[in-house]
């Protein structure tokens, strides 16, 4: 874990980026703490890669500041910044050996020759590529090239390592392996990692903190648990994991519990900072959804069990409501829901989260990922 006293090493202040009329990054504020593994998670077009490239110096913000160790570097070229990047396509120099590739940055900085040899040898040992020192990139597999790219960047001891979806081109098994390796490396070297990906699971596995970006906006930043359990808004709730959403209007607030009036009646959920009369939605994760064959006080969601699938140790069920909405439940393998009569859904209000939902006409009764 990152110590609570960690200072921010990268400070992104009020960054905006336009490509012509396209507002790709909007009013971005983000602090990256020293020694942490921060992942920016988002789908393509969310602006996450553009943000990373602005920190690296390959794009320039239209307005705003980027502070590295306290200094504003927005004006500086990539070679003037104390950060290094691991590129998605690895970008290894094909006409140089692995050794020369890794040594490149050190040579540029005119590090003395014996120190270069020492540092390159050490880092290649760390990524287990010592035997490949005098080979060329074309002789390496994808996973090996990737490790060279990481070594080439890390050997320079940058203040921050920027990683642009480095595992995208690897097969599943290798990717999972590399995720753990990267995490191990980061912990061992104690270098700050700023990581960009669209893969949720990757982000949840590796990161100390996650920042969710959507449409150029940073929706929420927090530790994985908080992102999952306490989504800040509707987008985050639906983006991470699966959830069930019930749209409605807040009819009452008491402490940190709110009552929502939804289509079929009223429901309860945990919320903070929202007021009576606001358009909102209750987000209930499938594993928190409960059912009964008898009507439940305080809830009025009634439906018919339609599909049930065993997936290993978990039973996934789908309940169809009269208005067409499909609610998903997930329980440890047990008896399936009764298919012959109505099923009444409810939950512990503390298990549900109320989020803002201003554009209900747009979203409608939306459901998240596919059933399986």
């Amino acid at each position: 874990m990152v110590p609570m006293s960690a200072e921010p090493i990268v400070q992104i202040r009020n960054i905006n980026k336009f490509y012509g009329d396209n507002h790709v990054v909007r009013d971005l504020d983000l602090d990256v703490l020293e020694g942490e593994f921060l992942t920016i998670l988002g789908s393509s077009g969310s602006g996450k890669t553009t943000t990373l490239r602005m920190v690296g110096g390959f794009e320039q913000p239209t307005s705003g500041e980027i502070l590295l160790g306290g200094e504003n570097v927005a004006d500086r070229e990539p070679y003037e910044r104390d950060v290094n990047t691991v590129f998605q396509s690895y970008a290894l120099f094909p006409h140089m050996t692995i050794f020369d590739n890794v040594a490149y940055g050190l040579k540029m900085r005119k590090v003395p020759k014996d120190e270069i040899v020492r540092r390159v040898t050490d880092i290649l040992a760390l990524v287990q590529l010592t035997a490949f020192e005098s080979r060329r990139p074309s002789q390496l597999s994808g996973g090996q090239m990737q490790r060279v790219a990481i070594a080439r960047a890390l050997v320079n001891h940058p203040k921050v390592l920027l990683l642009d979806e480095p595992l995208g081109a690897l097969d599943l098994k290798l990717r999972k392996q590399m995720q753990l390796e990267l995490k191990r490396l980061q912990r061992k070297l104690n270098i700050t990692f700023l990581y960009v990906t669209h893969d949720q699971e990757e982000a949840l596995t590796m990161s100390d903190r996650i920042g969710i970006m959507h449409d150029g906006v940073l929706e929420q930043v927090g530790v994985p648990k908080d992102i999952y359990e306490e989504p800040a808004n509707r987008f985050v709730a639906t983006f991470i994991g699966e959830t069930n959403l019930f749209d409605g209007v807040i009819s009452a607030v008491g402490g940190d519990i709110a009552r929502l009036t939804i289509e079929s009646g009223t429901v309860l959920g945990r919320c903070s900072g929202l007021k009576v009369g606001e358009m909102a939605a209750v987000s209930v994760r499938p594993e928190r959804m409960r059912f009964s064959t008898m009507p439940v006080d305080g809830f009025s969601i009634e439906g018919i069990a339609r599909e049930q699938v065993y997936v290993g140790s978990v039973l996934k069920s789908m309940v169809e409501l009269p208005n067409g909405q499909e609610v998903r439940l997930e329980r440890l393998a047990s008896d399936p829901l009764p298919a012959d009569g109505p099923v009444y859904l409810y939950w512990d209000p503390l298990d549900a989260r109320v989020v803002q939902s201003p554009d209900q006409a747009v979203y409608g009764a939306v459901q998240t990922a596919t059933f399986l």
Binding site: Q60, P61, A74, D75, R76, E77
Partner: protein, 295 residues
């Protein structure tokens, strides 16, 4: 602020534009001179100083029989060369790709010779050959010579296209019932078309511009470049400039037409019009509805 770096990049960008503009300027300078001189109302050799604007030379061009016939020769030569070289080159390229046999290295070597060797060596070697076998020198010897140096370029172009070729397309065609000949014309050839077209275009270009090789094997037949060379000895009469200007305009128009969307647009417009008339003939009652849908 990111201002300083943006300024630097803008200057670099501007510098690049200036550099390219200068290069292009130099590239087009002699052409500008030629075009300008085609309107030059000078009448004394060596026709270099500007004496006023005129269309006279374009008029004189029409009556300059020898110049026009040399141009005609060049066209005939180029088209004949292109056809022969393209057909022969395509066939051998496909054959080399498809069949396995020894000696491909030798063929490759033979192909590279006309590409790399100085044209003058090609020219005199063919002259020596033709003289010793007493081949009449004229259009025949010219065609043979031109095909010889155009052939490798056609083959390279088609081969480049074959490199990325997926043989399962041919297999699918034969699986669906087409025999080898039909497959060749229906599947293989259309696939190769860009390579063939590229080779043909290159072949045509090389032929119409050839000076050195033609110089040695032309006998009495005048091609346009050779006629120009002859005129240069006596100071190029501006009607040569006029013809060159016309050729330039024609080629530019050709490029613009093939590159722009004009032709495809025209074709699709004609198709739509035809479809519309057909449909209105089919459904007399609902024709107006259909027309609305299409627009």
């Amino acid at each position: 602020m990111a201002l300083k770096r943006q300024l630097r990049e803008k200057l670099r960008h501007r510098g690049g534009i200036v550099y390219c503009a200068i290069i292009y300027g130099i590239l087009f300078l002699p052409i500008a001179v030629i075009v300008a001189n085609s309107f030059n109302a000078t009448d004394t050799k060596p026709y270099m100083s500007w004496k006023g604007f005129t269309f006279d030379w374009y008029a004189k061009l029409l009556s300059d029989r020898s110049l026009l016939s040399s141009f005609g020769n060049t066209m005939v030569l180029a088209i004949t060369t292109t056809i022969i070289a393209t057909v022969m080159g395509t066939i051998v390229a496909v054959g080399m790709y498809r069949y396995k046999f020894r000696g491909k290295g030798v063929i490759d070597g033979l192909l590279y010779i006309p590409v790399v060797i100085p044209e003058i060596v090609m020219g005199i070697s063919l002259l020596v050959l033709f003289t010793s076998i007493h081949l009449p020198q004229g259009m025949l010897s010219l065609v043979i010579a031109h095909v010889t140096f155009c052939l490798p370029f056609v083959i390279f172009n088609v081969r480049a296209r074959l490199d990325g070729y997926d043989q399962s397309l041919e297999e699918a065609s034969m699986d669906l019932g087409a025999n080898k000949l039909k497959t060749f014309f229906g599947v293989t050839l259309p696939m190769l078309a860009p390579g063939i077209a590229g080779g043909a275009l290159l072949s045509f270009t090389l032929s119409i511009d050839d000076v050195v090789v033609s110089f040695f094997v032309n006998g009495q037949t005048m091609t346009f470049p050779l006629k120009v060379m002859q005129s240069i000895k006596s100071g190029v009469a501006p009607d040569v400039n006029a013809l060159s200007t016309l050729i330039l305009i024609a080629t530019i128009l050709l490029v613009v037409l093939t590159q722009s969307k004009m032709v495809p647009n025209l074709v699709s417009k004609l198709r739509n019009r035809r479809a519309r008339t057909l449909r209105s003939q089919d459904c007399a009652g609902t024709s107006s509805v259909n027309m609305k849908e299409e627009s």
